[in-house]
């Protein structure tokens, strides 16, 4: 056997464990999920082909629209807030290198490594309207009307937002910090000699040099925001009155609480296509910028 043919065989041999595994648990599953979305299926009896009826039903489902708007509420508010907060924190921390900033960095990062399920239990109690830390703190500093947080349809979404911003900012701060540390110091020194102000340095050096990492963080953040699930599951169960239910939560609920597997699969596919479109728009945006 020629050396080239041998290499060819070996290549396929080495990728085969991953290839077979992905065939079963990812590629195959994606196609099967699409197949299920055309069926009515309760997991116990055999799936029954119903064509596009699930999709037609989804577009007439009032919950679908409510949960879709909740999903977008979280994405639209979470992404820019975390993006700006984490970038600002990274810049603040990057200017100092002494020991104590390392402690700040660790403290800010800490929330992102603990499991969302565990920390959601803690926040559930922090948000407790009468006995929770937050409202008692608000009362202590002089507020006389305090929000009912997770018990109110108005405040439940902001409460989840607060918790998620608290949890995620430190993680993305670290990614920006990595980006900042690749900017050569000489750029700033040279611009200082030329009389550039801090403001000019920020907009003309820092921001453009961070564009790569900014793009990565934005993509990851959008996907993470769309995928918000554990915090909702533990803290609100989608309530009160569906005010915090997202499409992710609905997919789970339809599938594993109501055993409407076909409907759940159809929802998952609509959601998948939506995320795909948003990500493609981001790539497009990026290319246009890079092309300038």
């Amino acid at each position: 056997m020629s050396l080239q043919a041998q290499e060819e065989r070996l290549g396929w041999l080495y990728v085969s464990p991953a290839l077979i595994g992905f065939m079963v648990f990812t590629f195959g599953s994606i196609l099967r999920s699409l197949g299920y979305s055309f069926t009515e299926w309760d997991l116990l009896t055999a799936p029954r082909w119903i064509g596009l009826r699930n999709f037609a039903k989804i577009f007439q489902d009032g919950y679908f629209y409510q949960y879709m708007s909740n999903t977008f509420y979280f994405v639209i508010l979470l992404v820019p807030t975390v993006l700006v907060a984490s970038l600002m924190l990274a810049i603040l921390i990057n200017t100092r290198t002494k020991g104590i900033t390392k402690a700040y960095r660790a403290a800010l990062f800490l929330p992102s490594i603990t499991s969302t399920v565990a920390i959601s239990m803690v926040w559930l109690w922090i948000f407790n309207p009468s006995m929770g830390v937050l409202n008692n703190l608000l009362l202590a500093i002089g507020f006389d009307k305090v929000p009912q947080w997770l018990d109110s349809t108005v405040w439940s979404k902001p409460a989840l937002l607060i918790m998620r911003i608290w949890q995620m900012s430190g993680y993305y701060m670290l990614m920006f910090l990595a980006g900042l540390q690749t900017i050569p110091e000489t750029l700033y020194e040279a611009s200082e000699v030329d009389g550039a102000t801090r403001r000019q340095q920020f907009f003309r050096i820092t921001i453009p040099m961070l564009s790569n990492i900014f793009f990565v963080v934005a993509i990851l953040l959008v996907i993470e925001a769309f995928n918000m699930f554990e915090s909702i599951f533990i803290m609100t169960g989608g309530g009160p009155l569906g005010s915090t239910s997202t499409i992710m939560y609905y997919i789970y609920e339809k599938g594993f609480s109501y055993y409407e597997m076909g409907y759940s699969s159809a929802l998952a596919w609509i959601f998948f296509i939506l995320i795909l479109i948003v990500t493609l728009i981001q790539y497009r945006f990026r290319h246009e910028q890079a092309g300038e």
């Binding site: 990728v15 464990p17 991953a18 648990f25 660790a106 109690w125 922090i126 963080v217 759940s264």
Partner: protein
């Protein structure tokens, strides 16, 4: 006027440090509060001033009750075992695949690589129902194997494949070429030369995978229903369903938070640098 500049600087530093200290306290407070509150008797938690951090009466009753209703010791061991063993399996698969994709020339390897990477775009809920069905059909329901297989062969390991490939491309080929000319088989080149030279990539993927397995919730909740095999996240969900006493719930949360904080404090540097590295995967 150098003196004035100096004074200006200390003023700024004061503002900076005050801001950072307040922010750091906000970040750490929920952890400290939950751990300390888990030692408070329930009456104190319900009727005492919630702004009091330190328990007035110190009790371990909540923990006694916690271990009495659910095997939280077992949950902790399961979580720790899985968070170490699953990443090892993931890394073995991902690194070997990436080795083939970067070092062996074969038809279709670029298409394969793109196919793996593209799976990172797919929301995990899309494969949830089919994978559940597969696991049931393979008689793997209620086994750790079910948890291993999906971690090894879904999107999070696709990220590892991608990350290893980026890293392997930066390792110079001189070393392995010499070994290959001497007749060393590829599998040995991989284990003796490539892997020992990939410690930074292994550290990064290990820590990111550890985090994702430790956090895993929905999948283990769906495929595991035996208390002996449950993880902390799933155990906490059941605790919340059954136990009305909030002090006990906080003890459960504290038990799940403390091990990861210890791991974080020990491997702080690695945790930080792997997060920082992961962003450059997308460059």
């Amino acid at each position: 006027m150098p003196f004035k500049i100096e004074k200006h600087k200390t003023g700024r530093a004061l503002v900076f440090h005050t801001f950072m200290v307040v922010l750091s306290l906000l970040m750490v407070y929920p952890f400290v509060w939950s751990v300390l509150s888990s030692f408070k008797p329930i009456e104190e938690l319900y009727s005492g001033n919630p702004l009091n951090l330190i328990p007035q009466t110190f009790t371990t009753e909540n923990y006694r009750r916690l271990f009495e209703i659910l095997p939280f010791g077992r949950f902790t061991l399961n979580s720790l075992y899985l968070s170490i063993a699953i990443p090892i399996a993931m890394i073995l698969v991902a690194s070997l695949t990436s080795y083939a994709l970067t070092r062996l020339r074969f038809r279709g390897r670029n298409v394969l690589f793109l196919a793996f990477v593209a799976t990172m775009m797919i929301p995990s809920h899309v494969v949830l129902i089919p994978n559940y069905k597969t696991i049931v059909d393979l008689n793997l329901y209620n086994t750790f194997t079910a948890l291993f297989l999906t971690s090894m062969f879904t999107a999070s390991n696709a990220f590892n494949i991608f990350f290893f490939r980026q890293f392997f491309l930066t390792i110079p080929k001189d070393l392995e070429n010499a070994a290959i000319i001497d007749g060393c088989p590829h599998i040995q080149v991989f284990f003796r030369i490539i892997l020992p030279n990939s410690k930074p990539a292994i550290a990064t993927t290990a820590i990111l995978s550890f985090r994702s397995v430790w956090n895993q919730f929905l999948w283990p909740m769906i495929v595991i229903n035996d208390y002996d095999k449950m993880t902390l996240t799933v155990g906490l969900k059941y605790l919340k369903d059954w136990e009305p006493n909030w002090a006990v719930l906080l003890a459960g949360a504290a038990i799940s938070i403390i091990p990861i904080i210890i791991v974080f404090l020990v491997f702080q540097k690695q945790f930080m640098s792997s997060t920082m590295n992961s962003g450059f995967g997308g460059k």
